[in-house]
């Protein structure tokens, strides 16, 4: 087995951690590969986690304390958290209040809340206001598939504009799960991505991260969307062997973030993707933390 070809700028303590982990990888493999991936230096920002309960089954880490423990154990230093409740609940204001409260009560600053806004609900503008002014959230998370609107909907354009004006980072969730295995009574169509680039271009100041989009968006279509504005993607649903390296052959490094989609997905999936791909010196650090840190710091 080959050791990780990636190299990092390390202080002595970090170097020893990685060296010990890498020695484990070379001896046999597997959880040591995981440990090596988790032990990389300079933090790990998971931009795609959710709190509360997935509507269709209990998950091993759907308790906030358990999720925090899982994230910490895997080296996560910050997690951008939405709420599963934001998918179907109509009382979005209490969803966001609970989310903010959970993030305060657990993790000692690990969890950063991203409130839900549904632009098809009456007076949704006040939900946006509360996210920014009451809960002091740095961003919001949108679920167009579950909330039933298209990307050429004027309400969506207005929401993006108001979010940009408030300096809120917008997380747009393309899908939550593989549509082939959805519950028969909860089949949610992935929104058509084609109109999205136009609305991004028409929204100055917008910072947009699209979650779970790499399952269906590749090549030129992905590039066009990234070039439409300040648009980012994360790796939770990226697939294919050596997927991260393949993605970076065609995608600007500074637009790729780390995301696990935990607790709906096993957290280890995203972490091991960084291990599986041979990456250059600067790539792991950019994906693990630097890109996300820069993006969050850009709040106008």
């Amino acid at each position: 087995m080959k050791p990780d070809q990636s190299t990092f700028s390390l202080d002595r303590r970090d170097f020893l951690k990685v060296a010990v982990a890498a020695a484990g990888v070379a001896s046999l493999g597997s959880t040591s590969a995981l440990q090596a991936a988790a032990a990389a230096p300079s933090g790990l920002i998971d931009t795609n986690v959710s709190l509360s309960r997935w509507p269709l089954r209990r998950l091993p880490c759907d308790d906030t304390a358990a999720l925090v423990a899982k994230l910490r154990a895997n080296g996560v230093t910050q997690a951008w958290a939405g709420s599963f409740d934001g998918l179907l609940h109509r009382d979005i204001a209490t969803v966001n209040t609970r989310l903010a409260d959970e993030c305060r009560r657990h993790g000692k600053g690990l969890l950063v809340p991203f409130g839900s806004v549904n632009p098809k609900l009456p007076d949704w503008e006040d939900d946006l206001r509360r996210c920014a002014e009451v809960h002091r959230m740095p961003g919001i998370r949108l679920h167009p598939g579950y909330h039933g609107y298209r990307f050429d909907d004027p309400d969506f354009a207005k929401l993006l504009r108001l979010a940009a004006e408030r300096g809120l980072l917008v997380q747009l969730v393309w899908i939550m799960e593989d549509r082939r295995m959805m519950h028969p009574l909860l089949q949610v169509e992935p929104p058509d991505l084609k109109p999205l680039a136009e609305v991004i271009k028409k929204t100055p100041g917008l910072r947009l991260e699209i979650l779970n989009v790499l399952k269906g968006l590749h090549g030129q279509s992905l590039l066009s969307l990234l070039h439409a504005g300040e648009v980012f993607v994360e790796i939770a649903m990226l697939e294919g062997v050596g997927g991260v390296a393949g993605l970076l052959e065609k995608t600007p490094l500074n637009r790729v973030l780390f995301g696990s989609h935990a607790p709906l997905f096993y957290f280890e999936s995203a972490l091991l993707k960084l291990k599986e791909s041979p990456l250059t010196e600067d790539q792991p650090r950019a994906i693990r933390c630097d890109n996300a840190r820069r993006l969050l710091a850009k709040k106008s």
Binding site: S30, S32, R180, M181, H183, F267, L272, E276
Partner: protein
Amino acid sequence: MNYEIWDVHTHLAGVPGTTPEERLAKLLQYADRVGIARLCVMMGLKWNYDPTPEFMRKSNDEALQAVRKFPDRAFGFVYVNPKHTQASLDELNRCVRDGPMVGVKLWCALHCNDPLLDPIVARAAELKAIVAQHCWIKITGNLPGESTPMDMAELAARHPKATFSCIHTGGDWERGIRAIRPHPNVYADINGGDPTAGFTGMAVRELGAERVLYGSDAGYRSFASQLAKVHGAEIPDTAKRLIFAGNTKRLLRPILNEKGIKV
């Protein structure tokens, strides 16, 4: 904790390289990075849901070419189409009885509860080869010949002495696990779907860790997302050892012994 890992389900498709050998070499490079010792490889460079006898032979020739280059790292599964029964039996004999392959791969040509599978399964059982059948339950609609775990349960009931791998555990694993549960000769191959938390835990709870196999479906899938189903599962370490390699080794040992391969 270190684990020995055998991947029961990989492909040459979706991997960089122009020849089968190049692609398997590349696949092994990625496997090395995440600690996988051995791969089971099935099908050639191009895929066909309903292959002709000629396509089957070419596909199997390519898989043979690849595994012969890495005999200490890879095992082959012969790809057959039960609609062409005699041609499939001929391929079984050529690639398994007379060649290095250790299992049978069935995909989407025909629902696997069809009686046309019976002679193929019977021959595979004689040769001690694992029968791996693609299974999926799609709410969006299966392909015309695409099997479900319920189809597999019917087939397994007719062949209690054969060993079956229910590939993908039906995708919709909450139903797939239940469908195969009564049939102890059916193993849940957890490869291919998203790394949805809870999958492996339910499989272990309902089937026992002895009936769960780690596979990836690489290169279409990453090794990473599929390894995570075991690494991330809240199951005992002993169960992880069985799923990662112990069960596959136990199932392959009889045929490997016959071929004089020690593992």
